[in-house]
Structure formats: structure tokens, C-alpha cells
Amino acid sequence: MNLEFTDEQRLLAETARAFVDRQRDGDDPWPAIAQAGWAAPLVPEGESAADAGIVELALVCEALGRGPVPSPLIATRVLASLPIYLDGTSEQQDRWLPAFADGSAIGTMALLESVSRDEWDTPGMSGVGRLSGTKIVVPWASRADVIVVATADGLRLVETASANVQIDGHDGLDGEPLAAVTFDSTDAEPLGTGDGGVTIAVVLDHAAVARLAYAVGAAERALELTVQHATDRHQFGRPIGSFQAVAHRCAEMRAEIDACRYLTYRAAWSLEHTTARSEAVTTAKSYANEALRRVFMHAHQVHGAMGFTTEHPLHRFTRVAKAFELSYGSTTRHRDRLATAMGLGPNV
């Protein structure tokens, strides 16, 4: 047991953070992210070299969340690259994995339909060879070259340049572009030969952790802004951070963010080093869904009305946290998965 970073991890986190500090609004961070090697295929469960694993991806995402710097990194490296790595034919892998890694292609996965409660629901869309219907809330679809489509019959690959793919952008919550993607007898090649069910679960676990790390970075930055405001802002003749009501909110933020961060690291580590994959992920996701709500309620309460304006950066982090909460499974979903992992149920 040792919860300290390795030297490599510390260097990676610092590099990523410096990269985020250099970003300016309007920059497209994707080329530089790919150039840094952060988009290389994610190799699960113990096969990874340094920089290639989910722990390292989590550290990069945590840094990006501090911007926040929206990018197609999670969509490409987790939602598209990982299933192609796991299930794809060698031809599919050769076609896409190098292009994702060098940033010349962007990928994503389409999971949700209008009747889905969340990404864990079994897809309703079906079809062999050709697909029809609409997937909604697809991240980065508007910039993607290829979409991994979850269907009742397995995973399919659809190139966005092919005929009969219509992409209608949603007005996203947190700066990550989302879209509804409509297929109308669209050509769709099967991804490998499997039904994709296990792969989807692996992908969702990895995506949840990466998004969580991004949200933790956002929360950490929100805490820094909050402490700064509590120190600078004076009311009743003293800095507001000297009032217990304010100081204790900040302390609770610190305590909750630390819990989220270490649960995230543990979940990422577990994905690489254990077979009890879901338990650590569901624990982190269900905990953080609730904890980050409290963190941002504290942040806004300390900031006063200013934090609600778009002239202040706080709202961008608030949106990241809420978009995280609404993605990759509700608290309810993950608590139910966790209950199974805890052994509840089978004796009945």
C-alpha cells in the first residue's frame, strides 16, 4: 500500500497541469494532447506501460478539468479506441488505433436513446449491416470520424463521412459538444464478432473514472477560487473566510474533494490491477455524484451572486461537475451495482 505518486506520475501530472495553464480560450487542445502521447491506446489490466494506463489517463484528465479544457480525449481514447482495441479485427485496429494515437482521427461511442435511463441500459437500436434510428447525447460526434454504435446485436462502426448520418448538435451543459446522431439505413460494420456486452461495461467503467478525474480537477480549481475569494472578500470588517460558516464550508470542500480524488485513484488503479473492477468504480462514482453536489453548493454559497455570473469562471467548473454527475450512471445505478458487489441479494 502506498498512495503517493511515483516520480513518473508526479512528472506527468505536472506536465499536464503546465499544459492546461498555457491553454487560452479558443485554442484547440487536441493536436497538442495527441502530440504529448496522451491519446495512445489505453491498454487495460496490467499490460500497460507507463503513460499508457488508466491511472495516467486519470492524472491527465484531472489536470484538464482544472481548465477546464474540453477535448475529445476521453471520447477517442476510451469510448472508441478501447472497444476497437478489445474487440476489433486486426484490420479495424490498424485502421483506427494509430490515427487516434497521433490525433489525426477522433472517435466516440453512441449509447443513449431517448428511452434510455443511462448509458448502462441495454440499447434498443438493432440491425445487421444497416442501422436506423437516433442516438442522443453522443459526445464529440460533431468532430468524430468514427462512431462505435451500441446496438442490441453488438457493437457497430459507423464512419461519419458515410451517407445517411445526420448529426444535430445539442446545447451541451459543460462545453463538451454533444449531439443527436440519426441513422437512416446507414452502413454499419460489426466491430469484431462479439456481442459487445462485456466490452461496453469495461468501456463505461473506464469512461466513468476518466470523467470523474476531470470533475475532481474542476472541483479542486473551484476550491482554489473559493479560498481565494474567502481570503480577499471582506464583509463586516474582516475577510469572510474568518467566519466559521465560510471556513467550515471550505473545510468540507477539502474533505470531500480529497475523498473523491483518492477514490478515483483507487478505481483507476483497480481497473489495471484487480479483477474486482466494478466495485471500486461504482464506489467512486456513487460517492462523487453526491459529494461534488455538496462541494459546488458550498463554492457558490461562499462566492455569493458573483459566482453565478458568467463573468466569473466558477460556473464552468459547476457545469463540469453536473455533467459528470449526469453521465455514466446515476447514484442509484451505481449503488445498485455496488450492492451486488457487496454480496446483497443472493441468499434470497
Binding site: 431517448s114 446545447d171 463586516f236 460558516a245 459547476t318
Partner: protein, 388 residues
């Protein structure tokens, strides 16, 4: 003890609902939207309400009211808030700007300012907060120099909703005596917003454009007959006004309406039997009933001639935390598509829950923060000592 509205009150509610069903268009979703139809609609609706005697129904007849009971007034508030307040900025006239003028104004001021409010023809805003005076309102520094027959005002206000509506008048809090401790030396001016020297700058928020404004005052001349109440004794007006305001807003009513929307959504999507959904929505409903009954308690005290200062703060603590809880739990129920906003065809419940969550992020701040309400309850309600 009686927890029921009378038959007559229920009949009135039915009439009012029918009126609003007919008059409030589908596109209406509250103020602070980027929609040019919004302000003219609220003006028109207020005129129609005034025609029916429903705009200022609880005001005394001499000021243009109908002398209706506080409970009928409460019904109006509930129905309006449940529909995102289609009276727009004018709810403030009825709830506290008018009542403060009734209580503290001269007969001339009353006859000058109240009838236009009663006719639904005038927009007021409130200039209280300043960049360096938020929760610590009494430390305000906007200065009004007494020049005999007029004041000259210099300073800056912030968080002034509706100033860009544009507002016709402003209830402005100013410091008239800079030499006395902070709760003293404050006065209230009634300021014509078209006076030269006033500049309004909208501030965009997470909820949409121009919810707030900064108001800059640069050598603004205010005639002496626009001083409300006594010079240097404006703090009493503030305390009274804030209590009126806290009781005056049926925030729980909108929460109750959103809960109903969520119940309909759950039933329509096969979730009405889901134990977790049932548990969460029942929790919200119980909190809604708690908030409502505490608002009714404050109104009962008003009806009995008491001033429910502490009780209004308690009701507000419940109202505002309920609003936030409903927003959070509502989005959770809607899942990933809950991210989508009004206008997106895939947004569940037309994005109303998303908007509700967003709008209520600052609800524990506005009109006196949660912390200020707790201080009021602790110090005035329980007699606990102040911080030294």
C-alpha cells in the same frame, strides 16, 4: 387551527387558474430569457390582472387595492410562482415596494406612486447591494449629499434585477450621513431611472442574459420629495421591506409544480413503481409540504397582525433549500438527457427541470443568504449572542 382554504378561496383559485391557462402562452418561461416577447407580455398581463382587481388585491381600497384577505393574496402568489411569475418584475411592487411606501410614505408619495402600481403600469427595481456590501448590507457606501431641496447621489449598485427591463423607478438605499455607525445614516430614495447620470450595465448569468445589472450613479439629482421616510432612518424601512419580501414569495409553489412534472414524467416512463424513484420524489414532496406549512404559519401571523420576522426567515430557509434539492433530484431522475436545455427537441420536460436547477443555484443567496437567515433565527429567534 384550520388547514383548509375556504370554498370561496378555492373558487377564486379555480377562476385564476382558468384565467392564467388562457392568458399565459406556451413560450413563457419566466424572466431573464433572451426573448423580446417577455417584458411586453408581463406588462399586458399585469394590466389585465389590474382590470379584474387581482393585481393588488390585498392592498387597501384607498391605494387601489381590493382589501382582499392575505389568503387570497397567497393563492395569487402560489399560482404565479407555479407558472414562473408571469407578472414579471411587478410582483415586487405588490409584495414590498408598495407596502413600504404605504407604511413609510407621505400622503403625497402614496397618491403619486401607488395608483400606477395598482394599475400595473410601472416597473420598479431595488438598489440595495453594492460591490462591497453584500450580506453586510449596512456597510453600503453610495452617497447622497443633502442639498436642501434635492440630493446628489454618487455610487454604484449591483445585482439589481430588472433595472434594464427598463425599470421606471428604483427604491434606492443610500448613505446620507457618513459620520455615524453603519446602521445609522442610511436613507431610502425613490429615484426616477430616467434621471441623467444613471447608467445600467447588464450582467449575464448561468441562467441567461441580463438577470442582474450594475447601476452606476454619477451626480444623480433626486428631488427632496422623493425621500421616503425619515432622513438617516432608512434601515427600519429595509428591515420591514425584507420581511415583506421573504413572506411575499411563494417559492415552494414552483417547487411543487416541478415535483408534479417529475411525477408525470416518472409515470409516463415506466418509473412510477420504481422504489428508488418513489422514495426520492416522496422525500421532495414531504420537504415541499414542510416549506408550505411554514409559509402558511408566517402568513397566519400576518393575518393575526404580527410581524413574522423570524418565521419568514425559517420559511425561506426551507423554501430555498427545497428549490435546490428539487433541481438536483429532478436532473438525476432525467439522467444524461437532463443535460439538454429548453429548445432542444430531445430535452425531457422541455428542459424545464434543467432551467429550474440552474436558476436556483443562487437561491440560498438572494434576498439574504442562508447564513443571514440563520443569524436572524439564532439571534432574534433564540436570543443567542451576536459575534463579538
Amino acid at each position: 387551527m384550520d388547514f383548509a382554504f375556504t370554498d370561496e378561496e378555492e373558487t377564486f383559485r379555480t377562476e385564476l387558474r382558468a384565467f392564467l391557462d388562457a392568458e399565459v402562452p406556451d413560450w413563457w418561461s419566466g424572466m431573464f430569457v433572451d426573448d423580446e416577447r417577455a417584458m411586453p407580455f408581463t406588462r399586458e398581463l399585469c394590466r389585465k390582472l389590474a382590470e379584474r382587481g387581482w393585481l393588488t388585491m390585498a392592498w387597501p381600497t384607498e391605494h387601489g387595492g381590493s382589501g382582499a384577505s392575505v389568503w387570497k393574496q397567497a393563492i395569487v402568489r402560489e399560482e404565479m410562482w407555479a407558472r414562473e411569475e408571469p407578472r414579471g418584475p411587478q410582483y415586487m411592487n405588490l409584495n414590498y415596494i408598495g407596502p413600504v411606501i404605504m407604511r413609510f410614505g407621505s400622503p403625497d408619495q402614496q397618491s403619486r406612486f401607488l395608483p400606477p402600481m395598482a394599475r400595473g403600469e410601472v416597473i420598479w427595481c431595488q438598489g440595495f447591494s453594492e460591490p462591497d456590501a453584500g450580506s453586510d448590507l449596512a456597510s453600503l457606501s453610495t452617497r447622497a449629499e443633502d442639498c436642501g431641496d434635492h440630493f446628489v447621489v454618487n455610487g454604484q449598485k449591483i445585482w439589481t434585477s430588472y433595472a434594464d427591463a427598463p425599470a421606471d423607478w428604483c427604491l434606492l438605499l443610500v448613505r446620507t450621513d457618513p459620520t455615524t455607525p453603519k446602521h445609522r445614516g442610511i436613507s431610502v430614495l425613490l429615484v426616477d431611472m430616467t434621471t441623467p447620470g444613471i447608467t445600467v450595465r447588464p450582467i449575464d448569468t448561468m441562467a441567461g442574459p441580463h438577470e442582474f445589472n450594475e447601476v452606476f450613479l454619477d451626480d444623480v439629482v433626486v428631488p427632496r420629495d422623493c425621500l421616503l421616510g425619515e432622513l438617516d432612518h432608512g434601515w427600519d424601512l429595509v428591515v420591514a421591506g425584507l420581511t415583506f419580501e421573504r413572506v411575499g414569495i411563494a417559492r415552494y409553489a414552483r417547487a411543487g409544480r416541478v415535483i408534479e412534472l417529475l411525477v408525470d414524467y416518472a409515470n409516463a416512463n415506466g418509473l412510477g413503481h420504481d422504489p428508488i424513484v418513489r422514495d426520492r420524489l416522496a422525500d421532495l414532496h414531504a420537504r415541499y409540504e414542510a416549506a408550505k406549512v411554514l409559509n402558511y404559519r408566517a402568513i397566519s401571523m400576518q393575518a393575526a397582525g404580527e410581524i413574522p420576522t423570524v418565521e419568514a426567515s425559517i420559511a425561506r430557509m426551507h423554501n430555498t433549500q427545497l428549490e435546490q434539492a428539487v433541481g438536483h433530484a429532478g436532473l438525476e431522475l432525467l439522467g444524461p438527457a437532463g443535460q439538454l436545455r429548453a429548445g432542444d427537441r430531445w430535452a425531457p420536460l422541455q428542459g424545464e427541470v434543467h432551467r429550474y436547477w440552474t436558476r436556483n443555484i443562487p437561491s440560498t443567496l438572494a434576498g439574504g443568504s442562508l447564513e443571514v437567515q440563520k443569524n436572524i433565527v439564532a439571534q432574534r429567534g433564540l436570543g443567542l449572542p451576536r459575534e463579538p
